[in-house]
Every structure is written in structure tokens, then in C-alpha cells.
């Protein structure tokens, strides 16, 4: 084992242990926040695979998050599935839609890719509103507490919910870390660095990019399904453009192309809005100023700057 690998395992292992231990000493309010943050950070990690590691900027990831959310929610309300099976259905729905959208959107690149993904997500949002008799449109619907059970465990219980959020975050983290350290992950990074060169080494870059879209969509859908089942609400606002911009912001703030960036960015943004809204009603002004400062002084994001300045080994 190289010295760098030891440092990587040490740092990331410590973060995972802190997240586990936090549930025992955090006050109830922050305990609930952190559970929510871990699910949203899972969404950001899915986004980061595509944006940070493959170099594809999507503006339509809310579609995948919502596919997981509604796949899970409609699975329960329309097909009578249990919570576990409904989450699986949500993930399959997200990955399936990712496969389809990826095959179409990857015919474009750069700004056109951003626009096409945005348009697909908007179409998804409108479809949710259009089929209001099933989705309850703008209003959304609540998943009853009695239905939020997995193996007899009540997911609405704060302790169980925290543990479930932690498990999902762990699973996504470990799988993505493994993918990014594999040959497939290295090829994705190669495509981000220089697509033409990757092609001239014999790689079918379209196929790899498509694989990245499907995996990214699947992880985003997992987060969406988990969010719905853990917090009990399925609503169209999660399919809006705002939820496509959020993961981009979280990843940019935390550090695109770093494993811990999505978590750090999500925590930072969540508490920035939470704390500033306690000070003034114009909290978005404070949030905006802080974001501008960060963009000016830490353009690589928080973890990206740490990597540039101190921890060159950070993956």
C-alpha cells in the first residue's frame, strides 16, 4: 500500500466514522438536518461523477432525482409495493431514464448538452404536472408513516432515518470510490481531461460517457427515492430546475472532481442558508455574497483548494 493510499483511506475513513458517530451527540435539530444532508450529498455525488469526473455539465439532473422520487412514490401508491421494493423501482426508473436521455443528449456536447438536458428535465416536470391524477401535480403527496417500513423498521423514526441515510450515503460513496479507482473511472477522467486523446487510445468515448450518465442517474435516483421514503413527501418541486442547479452548486462549492466535495458543499450550502435565514429575511443576499467570495477566492471549491494547496493526493 502506498503512502498516498494510506492517507486517502485514513481521511475518508475518518469522515465516514465522524458521520456515524455524529448521531450520538448531535442535538435533535442538527441530527435531522444531517440525515437530510447525507441524502442530498448522495445526489451531489451522483452529479459529481458526471460533472466533476467525466466533464459533462448537465442542467437536468432533477429529472433523475425526481424519477427516483416518483418511481418510489408511485410504486407504493399505485402498485402497492413495500418501501424497499419501491426504492428499487425508483432507482431502476432513474437509471432507465438516464439510459434513454443519455443516448439522445450525448449526440450533442458543451452548451448544447446543457440545454438538451435542461429541456428534458423541464419536459419531465411538465409530465408530472400533466398526469396530476396520479402524481397530485404541484401539491404532491405524502407517504404515510405506516407505509414507511423496511424489515419492520420505522423509517420515520429519527434514529432509523439517520441510520438509513447514513447507509445510503456509505453505499454510494463506496461504490463511486471503487468505480473511480477502476479502469472505467480512469477512462472517465481521461475523457474529461482530453476527449480526443482518449478516443485516439482506442476508447469508444460515447459508450463510456453513456455509462457515466446511467450510473450518475442511478445514484441521483437512489437519493431521490431515499429522500421520499425517509421524509415522507413526493412533490413536483423536486423536479423543477432549482433541483438541477442545486447539485451543481453543491459540487462547485465543495470541489468538483473530489470525493468529499459533494458532502462538504452540501453541508456548507445547507447551513449557509439555514444560519443566514435566522439573521435576516434577505438571507439569499448573504448567501449570494458568500458564494461570490468563494468563487473568487476558492474557484476550485473547498476540497479542490485543499487539494491544490496541501493535499495533492486527494482523489
Amino acid at each position: 500500500m502506498t503512502a498516498d493510499l494510506r492517507k486517502i483511506i485514513g481521511l475518508h475513513g475518518a469522515v465516514l466514522v465522524i458521520l456515524f458517530a455524529a448521531q450520538f451527540f448531535l442535538p435533535a435539530y442538527h441530527h435531522g438536518n444531517l440525515a437530510r444532508i447525507m441524502v442530498l450529498a448522495t445526489y451531489a455525488m451522483g452529479y459529481n461523477l458526471l460533472f466533476g469526473y467525466t466533464g459533462l455539465l448537465s442542467l437536468g439532473h432533477a429529472l433523475f432525482f425526481a424519477a427516483g422520487l416518483y418511481g418510489m412514490g408511485l410504486g407504493m401508491t399505485q402498485f402497492g409495493l413495500g418501501a424497499g421494493a419501491a426504492v428499487v423501482l425508483g432507482v431502476v426508473a432513474g437509471a432507465g431514464i438516464g439510459a434513454l436521455i443519455g443516448a439522445l443528449a450525448l449526440r450533442t456536447e458543451g452548451v448544447a448538452f446543457m440545454i438538451v438536458t435542461l429541456m428534458f428535465a423541464q419536459a419531465g416536470y411538465l409530465i408530472i404536472l400533466y398526469f396530476g391524477s396520479y402524481t397530485r401535480g404541484d401539491e404532491g403527496f405524502v407517504i404515510q408513516q405506516a407505509d414507511r417500513l423496511v424489515a419492520g423498521l420505522d423509517l420515520s423514526d429519527p434514529t432509523v432515518r439517520y441510520f438509513a441515510a447514513l447507509s445510503i450515503f456509505y453505499a454510494a460513496f463506496v461504490v463511486l470510490m471503487w468505480v473511480l479507482r477502476s479502469r472505467f473511472g480512469h477512462v472517465l477522467i481521461a475523457i474529461r481531461e482530453n476527449e480526443e486523446r482518449a478516443m485516439m487510445l482506442g476508447y469508444d468515448v460515447q459508450r463510456y460517457k453513456w455509462g457515466a450518465v446511467v450510473l450518475s442517474a442511478g445514484v441521483s435516483a437512489l437519493a431521490g427515492a431515499a429522500y421520499g421514503v425517509l421524509f415522507g413527501y413526493v412533490g413536483a418541486s423536486f423536479a423543477s430546475v432549482q433541483y438541477s442547479i442545486f447539485p451543481l452548486l453543491w459540487v462547485l462549492l465543495g470541489g468538483a472532481g473530489t470525493m468529499l466535495g459533494p458532502l462538504v458543499g452540501t453541508i456548507f450550502m445547507f447551513y449557509l442558508i439555514d444560519l443566514s435565514s435566522g439573521v435576516t429575511t434577505a438571507y439569499m443576499l448573504i448567501a449570494g455574497i458568500v458564494l461570490v467570495c468563494l468563487t473568487l477566492f476558492a474557484p476550485q471549491g473547498l476540497m479542490g483548494e485543499l487539494r491544490n494547496r496541501f493535499w495533492r493526493w486527494l482523489p
Binding site: H186, A190, E196, A198, M200, L201, G202, R312
Partner: protein
């Protein structure tokens, strides 16, 4: 071996190459000579398939490379070392070589051969590519292309901007490749390197072929170089 037949290619509507034809034989270094803008790099890209041909053909043995998608061309044994190296800067030396090793068969022996060819890469194996010196980056760019065990290697100005010791090392490797039976196509601007290495030279001017001359003819008549490189 590698054969270009009346290749016409360009960017969009702007045609750059007009009826370019030449051959590169196994165990020889074929220099592609021409002034800036003559179409040397465009020729390389046309061979690699990243620039679609308007007409003509690129053949490797019996395979028509120009009929294949760009990502399939390297799998037929054509390695390309681009001008300016263009490494994957965030990956380590080892990871760059691993990504270069598309075909996973005989991978370990290939890796060992590359590290023997470039001992410096062994020392820098776990280091990120964007922290290497210019010469080391060039070695890695060559090593990455050789990971495919190519039968044809295209080198686009491999010694550009390097210090003399590195230039000598790159030149040694180029000669080793030739001695191993690889067909080397070399774009080079430095006169002494061309004179020392070229077995033959294809002369390009404004995207058109101005003939093919042997290495001896170049060495006997330096005015050929003066006319085609403007030196």
C-alpha cells in the same frame, strides 16, 4: 505498411490536404517535412481518423483505416503522440499508462518494457502527470502510445521545447522503435534530428505532396531542407 492514397481532408469546408500520398515502411523512420501550416498535424489526424476524409484512403496492410471509426483505429496498432503531449494531468504516471493499455492482454509485460525504455517513468510512477517536467511528460506521452504495442507510431514534434539531454533520450527511443520493426512517422522541425534519423522524408507544401526523398538524398543535399522548412 501504412499507406496514404490521394488523401483529401480538412476542417469543415476548408480543405487542408490535397491528394496527399506516401508510405511508411516497417523498421523505417519517415519524416513528414513542411513549414508551419503545411498540413503535417492535419495529416496525422487524418491517419488517426479524428478528421474524416473528403476522399482518398488510409491503409494499414489490408485494413482500410479510413473506413473505421476513430476509436477503432488505435486498436489496429496505430499509436499517436500528439504535439504538446496532452497527458491526462490528474492521473498518475501509472494510471496514464494503464489507460493507454487499451488491450488488456500481455499488459504487464508491455508495461515492464515501457518502464525499461523510460526508467524515469518508473521513478515517477505514483506521481500525477501534471507535476512532471516537460521531458518526463514527453516520455509519458510516448510510453502511453506504446502501451498499445503499435506497429505504427506517429510522433508529432516530440522534442519541441525540451532540453538537450531529453532530446537525446527521445531520439534514442525513436531509433529503438525503428530497430524493433515499428514504422515511425515523425514530424520534426529540428534539422539535425531530421538528418540523423530520417530513412525517408515526405515533403508537404500547402497541403500538397512535393515528393518523397530518401534520407541519403536529404543528407547529400541540405538545400532540400532549406526549401521545405524555410531554414
Amino acid at each position: 505498411m501504412l499507406k496514404l492514397e490521394a488523401v483529401n481532408a480538412g476542417y469543415g469546408r476548408a480543405q487542408v490536404l490535397r491528394d496527399v500520398s506516401f508510405e511508411a515502411q516497417a523498421g523505417e523512420i519517415t519524416c513528414l517535412l513542411g513549414r508551419n501550416g503545411a498540413g503535417k498535424t492535419t495529416t496525422m489526424k487524418a491517419i488517426m481518423g479524428v478528421l474524416p476524409l473528403m476522399s482518398g484512403a488510409v491503409r494499414l496492410g489490408k485494413t482500410v483505416l479510413s473506413d473505421l471509426p476513430a476509436h477503432v483505429v488505435p486498436r489496429h496498432g496505430v499509436g499517436y503522440v500528439p504535439q504538446g503531449r496532452r497527458l491526462f494531468g490528474d492521473l498518475t504516471v501509472g494510471q496514464n499508462l494503464e489507460v493507454g493499455r487499451f488491450s488488456q492482454c500481455e499488459s504487464e509485460s508491455t508495461l515492464e518494457e515501457i518502464l525499461q525504455l523510460f526508467p524515469r517513468l518508473r521513478e515517477r510512477y505514483a506521481q500525477r502527470a501534471n507535476t512532471l517536467s516537460g521531458g518526463e511528460q514527453q516520455m509519458l506521452a510516448m510510453g502511453r502510445a506504446l502501451s498499445l504495442r503499435p506497429s505504427v507510431v506517429l510522433l508529432d514534434e516530440p522534442t519541441e521545447g525540451l532540453q538537450p539531454s531529453m532530446i537525446a533520450a527521445i531520439r534514442d527511443v525513436t531509433e529503438t522503435l525503428r530497430d524493433q520493426g515499428v514504422a515511425v512517422v515523425l514530424v520534426e522541425q529540428r534539422v539535425e534530428a531530421i538528418l540523423a534519423l530520417a530513412d525517408r522524408a515526405a515533403l508537404l507544401e500547402n497541403g500538397r505532396m512535393r515528393g518523397v526523398v530518401s534520407g541519403e538524398a536529404l543528407r547529400d543535399d541540405p538545400t532540400i531542407l532549406a526549401r521545405h522548412l524555410g531554414v
